[in-house]
Symmetry: C2
Subunit: 159 residues, 2 copies
């Protein structure tokens, strides 16, 4: 009946439903401090991957190139990032996180950890163990997913 169930008990429809609910809550767990999702995404990406070109940020945030230029301009105005020339390519610019920018990311992360801690305290021990056991698989899926998102969005990929 369902084409989404491999033979080992993970129904992808259930998974999608659970993850929809969960991510909807999770992304609201951290204090948002008047910043858009895209802005926070850029700061977070820079914190995780180090200085990047505008074109690399564009790819990771799924907006147009002028939008990134303007967003970085605003972030620079607010002292959260700095533009520096790319020594290996005179056309390019490397966007660096400033200490203030790193602090924003850290604060959000601490908030999230605090709230997650509060949530997990209310789970049963087996539930906590189940979540801990699933973490490597979730990380693996995130990595696989990142690769997929770089590929073209074909509607019906011919197999």
């Amino acid at each position: 009946m369902s084409p989404h169930e491999p033979p080992d008990g993970l129904d992808t429809e259930d998974l999608a439903l659970a993850l929809e609910k969960f991510t909807g809550i999770f992304i609201r767990l951290a204090s948002v401090e008047k910043m858009s999702f895209t802005t926070l995404g850029v700061l977070h990406t820079l914190a995780g991957r180090g200085p990047l070109r505008l074109s690399e940020l564009k790819a990771s945030e799924q907006v147009t190139q002028p939008a990134i230029t303007q967003l970085v301009t605003r972030l620079e105005r607010d002292g959260l990032v700095r533009r520096r020339p790319d020594p290996t390519d005179g056309r390019a610019v490397l966007v660096h996180l400033t200490p203030a920018g790193a602090q924003v990311v850290d604060k959000r992360r601490r908030d999230r950890v605090d709230r997650l801690t509060a949530l997990t305290r209310r789970l049963s021990t087996p539930q906590r163990q189940a979540v801990a056991a699933a973490l490597p698989a979730l990380l693996e899926m995130a990595e696989l997913g990142a690769q997929v998102l770089d590929e073209p969005p074909a509607s019906s990929p011919p197999r």
Copy 2:
């Protein structure tokens, strides 16, 4: 050392890190069709919880009341929702999803399920089982989290 590790193996810092990566990918898995996160959030909320007042939508989306009024106006213009008077309160309006609106939500959900299926196929059987075993706990956390988000954002809530 870490205040975030209960005695049964779930380090919340690890959890937060994994979930950050995972949700960052997950929310981009579905086709976005030129709609903002907020817009999609409203459609999804209506699909999940039935007709709601503007003020209820406002609470679930964390934007100002005029933003919701305008967003619903745009959605109504595009035929995705309809406003109808609340029979129990002459001031209020109930926002209903139209069939076209429900279709948008369904398509996104199908997209997501398809992509998740592709991802989970590349996991090992134990990994899939681990994810399946964690689903109830994730749902529980989402539910607990939803309650927390409704509460006032007090820094030190008195018990």
